[in-house]
């Protein structure tokens, strides 16, 4: 008998209504058709801090890879699965149906998802169908009903107590470490719920940026370029440095708007939020909106020819220099300094 049913049994005598008798958390696992995403493991850490038994839901067009990884995580009690072609593209109209059906069966008190583009898309839709507020992009947990989130582009932190019966939460991955993958063999239950056919929405396809480098939000090092890079071709300098550091490449909004790199590399209030060990900002002035996306990095390096650029106010190490001289010099010398 698994731990989940033990808990269920333990609380049955005290309460007449079985399903609502204890607090329980549902984590909707972020994954692709090929793998579980690190964000899912970070969301589970957040769920652990709430303290309830944790159930994970893996829903998608292909789920085997994600389920295999998740099964080994000691911290969860149970995995629910829904595999359906209708979940291609994780359309929120369909995802919402799936989670609502699961909620009807299990009455979770907390429902959590990573604040990925998928989570941000379906979680609010789900919240209003449950008539609860959404607690979005949390960076901390005080207790099962009190949470921390940032407002005003990270320039203030709000501690709020949710007054809703169900806490629906999206989690900022960079604020929580991932749980480790152990050797558990978590019970898997296939949910016999069909997503409703959607006549008014049709997923056509996606165009994903292919890269050999680490994924931006999960990378331990990030090298980012701004308007000062002057052109897309010049980003080659950054790619070379990123490859030497095994870093992901990011960009400021100015660099994206100027067409130097694609949108999904944007770091900031409206792009990705990152918090790597090392963030190297090159030719980035450091507007409030950019700082919102990277100022929790452990070490920030800025290379900019303008000594008054605001980025130097948050940089641990600043080099006032022409990036077109400094970056090639770094690329040339860095191998000597890198720890093997």
């Amino acid at each position: 008998m698994n731990r989940y049913s033990t808990i269920l049994r333990r609380c049955l005598p005290r309460f007449s209504s079985s399903s609502a008798c204890f607090n329980s958390t549902l984590v909707i696992a972020d994954h692709t058709e090929e793998a579980l995403l690190p964000l899912a493991l970070r969301t589970i850490t957040a769920a652990k801090q709430i303290g309830n038994p944790i159930t994970c839901l893996v829903a998608g067009p292909k789920i085997d890879a994600a389920v295999e990884t998740l099964k080994k995580v000691d911290d969860i009690e149970k995995i629910l699965t829904v595999e359906s072609d209708q979940l291609k593209g994780w359309l929120p109209e369909v995802m919402t149906d799936v989670v609502l059906n699961a909620q009807k069966q299990f009455n979770f008190t907390h429902i959590m998802s990573g604040a990925s583009s998928t989570g941000k898309n379906f979680a609010p839709r789900l919240a209003s169908l449950l008539d609860v507020s959404l607690i979005s992009d949390i960076v901390g947990i005080k207790n099962s009903e009190t949470f921390l989130r940032t407002i005003y582009a990270g320039n203030a932190t709000m501690e709020l107590k949710s007054l809703d019966k169900i806490k629906l939460i999206t989690v900022r991955g960079t604020a929580f470490d991932p749980v480790s993958i152990g050797s558990a063999n978590v019970a898997v239950e296939k949910l016999s719920i069909e997503a409703n056919a959607q006549e008014n929405v049709k997923w056509i396809n996606s165009e994903l940026t292919k890269s050999e480098r680490p994924e931006l939000t999960a990378a331990s090092r990030v090298v980012a370029g701004g308007r000062g890079m002057k052109s897309g071709e010049n980003f080659k300098l950054l790619y070379d440095l990123a490859d030497k550091l095994n870093a992901a490449v990011g960009a400021s909004r100015a660099a994206v708007d100027a067409g130097f790199v694609s949108n999904d590399l944007q770091v900031g209030q409206t792009g990705k939020i990152v918090a790597p060990e090392l963030y190297v900002a090159i030719g980035i002035s450091g507007a409030i909106q950019h700082l919102a996306g990277m100022k929790d990095s452990k070490t920030i390096v800025a290379i900019n020819k303008d000594p008054d650029a605001p980025i130097f106010q948050v940089a641990d190490l600043g080099l006032v220099a022409d990036l077109f001289k400094a970056v090639p010099e770094i690329n040339e010398k860095i191998d000597k300094y890198m720890s093997k």
Partner: protein, 264 residues
């Protein structure tokens, strides 16, 4: 296609202002601080106006939910080309705990009353950074939702192809109207948005016209929406300040220091 469009316009502290937390730690200082239309909402308004210019839309209703001063934001929307405006007055106290769920209930009610075909909102407000209102409004109306839109292409058969910005790239989704869209930064470049002064010089007529356009007024009660708080604000704090860093003289010093810190 002759759509009736509803656009949401939130009045927020201007994006360039450095905010300060109030001494009572229950919010940020808003008195005497420059406010503007939420940048994402400017993009939403611009998209609606472009659709009208292309004869895809017949009427654009701009809505703002908030204190009295929200009417300034609606005047801007009217000057940009919206036809009429609705101000849903929420007092300062209720506004502090107003959450997207409540805003979306108001929007959904108005969309039904006004027989709206397309709701366009910004993807997030730059004050609460929630990124939820469009999704919630779509759910309440039981309409599909096209969030983070960077391109909206109406088709002859009444369908709309939307390019969405997602983690890792772009995705293409086809929708049947009615629909709720949320605008990403790259959807368009709003006219006047960055240079409001030029607007006054170049388009004095628009502003004069905007003054004559009607602003209808309602309260959440008129729309039967309950604003009882869904959350209690415990505290609002400024984030921990980073310690001042050091400037290095050259590349060698930079690399040495990074190595000492164990970062490379």
């Amino acid at each position: 296609m002759s759509l009736r469009i509803l656009v949401g316009c939130k009045r927020v502290i201007d994006y360039a202002v450095k905010i300060h937390v109030r001494p009572d730690n229950k919010g940020v200082v808003t008195q005497g601080v420059k406010h503007s239309m939420n940048p994402f909402d400017e993009i939403a308004v611009e998209e609606a106006v472009r659709m009208k210019e292309k004869k895809l839309a017949s009427e654009i209703l701009a809505i703002s939910i908030g204190p009295q001063a929200s009417q300034d934001t609606l005047r801007t929307a009217l000057a940009m080309g919206c036809d009429k405006a609705l101000h849903v007055n929420v007092d300062e106290k209720s506004f502090e705990t107003l959450v997207p769920l409540q805003v979306s209930k108001i929007l959904a009610k108005v969309a039904q009353q006004e027989k709206i075909d397309l709701v366009i909102l910004g993807k997030q407000a730059i004050d609460d950074d929630c990124n939820a209102t469009a999704q919630m409004t779509a759910a309440l109306l039981n309409w599909p939702q096209a969030t983070n839109a960077s391109k909206i292409e109406p088709k002859d058969d009444g369908k709309v192809l939307v390019t969405r910005e997602i983690d890792g790239g772009l995705e293409y989704v086809e929708y049947k109207l009615p629909l709720v869209v949320s605008a990403d930064l790259r959807l368009n470049e709003p006219r006047y948005a960055t240079l409001p002064n030029i607007m006054v010089k170049k388009h004095p007529l628009n502003l004069l016209k905007a003054k004559k356009k009607p602003i209808d007024k309602k309260t959440p009660k008129d729309l039967d929406v309950d604003l009882t708080p869904r959350m209690e604000i415990i505290t609002v704090q400024e984030p921990a300040k980073r310690e001042a860093g050091t400037k290095v003289a050259d590349v060698d010093e930079l690399l040495t220091k990074l190595k000492e810190a164990g970062r490379i």
